[in-house]
Symmetry: C2
Subunit: 429 residues, 2 copies
Amino acid sequence: MKIPPVKGTRDFYPADMAIRNWIIDGWKRVSIRNGFEEYDGPIFEYLKMYQIKSGEEIVEQLFSLTDRGGRELALRPEITPTLARMVNQQINSLPRPIKWFSVPRLCRAERPQKGRLREFFQWNIDIIGEDDVLADAEVIFCALDYLQEVGLTPDDIIVKISSRKMLAVLLQAIGFAEGQLDELYVVLDKRAKVPDDTFEQMLAEKVADENKRKKVLELMSVQSIEQIDDLLKLSETAKAAVNELNRLFELLGVMGVASFCKFDIGIVRGLAYYTGIVFEIYDKGSELRAIGGGGRYDDLLKQFGGPAIPATGFGIGDCVLEILLDEKGLLQKQLARPQVDYFVAFTEECFFKKALEITAKLRRAGLSTNFDYKGAKLGKQLKQASDQNAKKCIIIGDEFKGNKLVVKDMTTGKQEEVEVDKFFAEIKR
Amino acid sequence: MKIPPVKGTRDFYPADMAIRNWIIDGWKRVSIRNGFEEYDGPIFEYLKMYQIKSGEEIVEQLFSLTDRGGRELALRPEITPTLARMVNQQINSLPRPIKWFSVPRLCRAERPQKGRLREFFQWNIDIIGEDDVLADAEVIFCALDYLQEVGLTPDDIIVKISSRKMLAVLLQAIGFAEGQLDELYVVLDKRAKVPDDTFEQMLAEKVADENKRKKVLELMSVQSIEQIDDLLKLSETAKAAVNELNRLFELLGVMGVASFCKFDIGIVRGLAYYTGIVFEIYDKGSELRAIGGGGRYDDLLKQFGGPAIPATGFGIGDCVLEILLDEKGLLQKQLARPQVDYFVAFTEECFFKKALEITAKLRRAGLSTNFDYKGAKLGKQLKQASDQNAKKCIIIGDEFKGNKLVVKDMTTGKQEEVEVDKFFAEIKR
């Protein structure tokens, strides 16, 4: 009986796994050096947890299941609700700001396409308990710290930044009620991701009034923060939001990443829980392709039954990132086969047990060591050693009767005889 | 709205995550030095994949779900069926023996109890394409390589080993039909895991004939391989199985782990797919507690639509292992807080941006660096540096006007002034 894999999932053969590990290890290393600590939650949570604030698109894409006790559960499509739950559970004992990261496996029942799978990994970093825009700046810096580390430059990627707080005031000034905004955000979020005519059609479906629609399009064509002043007389809230944006760009300059960042009023984010600064990171070569994004979500913890506490963070998925790095030739360096420290060969069957014993000892000493199962001819064993990229090869043959091993350096090809005891004494040091 | 976590799942706060990472990183390191390569599959597969050969208990504990396309899926309760599927898919291009490992997240709808959760991590290693018992020996050695590495000794744990091939012959000699064996194995597997009277009751439910039951109990009380000769005249198949067992113990001796291993006819394994050598690793302090196990499954790949190809492997879960290591005091060394390379402090608000700039530069250079969000008094900042276990603290104050930093070694307490350019030139080296 031959069963296929489920569409939209991936099998990680060793070569694929090496790439996944390289990406995820980089995420972890950069998070830690930016002062974040790792956490994780369960792969499934109560279904209703994702129905509170995850946004329409995510709720539609939930993998839900019912357990034997009748509980309605769902595979996590994102980790932010879990983060909110976990922080709320220990809110009084966690020192603030809480700077945490995670690399969860997430599941979304999407229609599979290039860069969009039904199961993927996402790098999440979050700062909770800090309302200063400095936290938003640090989050954006951390993302760029990683993206620079893997070789991306301002020629390759751009961080587009806006503010939902500002946008809310501007949209209300056009005549939208606060209750209409969440729905409108979902449409506005698509502006940079779909062709212009598709966007205008989507907008027309949500906003019947042609005059309002015109004003929205006018607003969406704003090119700089300064232009907003010209567009309409600002309220105090809008002014505060604009000042925040200006300070964010100043801090990003201090941190040395200004050349990656620009204001873009079209950045809205699809998720319902954002409240302030929002940003998305784009591949410059294909502007419809966002490789990640995030923003401030100051109300979320309260909505999950906790106190009002400010928070900001981002997520970057592995699928689009891997495609981008591959296109830029930045994955290549990663594909070299891992090195084996020792390959233990033997010239005759009578030395097999000795080879096995020495293999076991080398492994116990922390060294990666291989040997041949079949007891092939020595030439074949040496070829295996070379195929496996072994640094050194130990040959057990007649010399062993005099308690000596032959150690061959696989780089230089040089061979030398070493006494067994001396060899292991060296290894231990 | 306050939503609890689902029963039987775990939240990994940073301290818990540090333990999980320490355990899993150890599994990975030891696998690699034993010549295994990492793979992984999807978290869900078609439901029917687990209905083929996973054994009754696992099928009962499946978390199943139906996706929008009507596909019947299940969260993986084990990774072996995925492994069989993946190997079959590329059977002609994979060089043999295939030596792979994985550390999958698995889900089983069990009744949660100590050491048994509904979601856990399992270390799996497998050797495919090698029928020699040497592969079984290598698998057992690899498990013991890790368990020794974390500090467990023959006083703490024991590997109990038997052979299903041998057991099958012996049970057929008692009068069981081949078709009855799978059901019987599930009961016999419980012998070392439940009290004697519970076991006898379970056996009585499956085997009505009192005489047969007596013979089964007699067989199960065999203490050594030699005793089997006395019990009944061996068939050629049984003899071959006994020889295999004897050779396995010899190889384990050569590899230096004989003191951890003993024959135990009561080891059967619950899963339906085992065909030869089977083993379980027990905590000696609590003999009802298995921390892992495995064995040979030569027919599985064929049952999944591939060619007949021999295979052997094992799995060790993280829950029981963590409990055992904790009880033995072997987790303690892991709980120390990670070290921060630099803490950047500043004496006055006017130096804040400089502190931020230097923090960003240090992080970009690969060093873990923290700073204070609030611009607290210097004493408080230094206390934070010390709380965060920082190796060095940089203090930006009036010296900075002369382009100098104060660098304080947090271990010795010694302070020195360093020119900014010189400091970064050193870092780069």
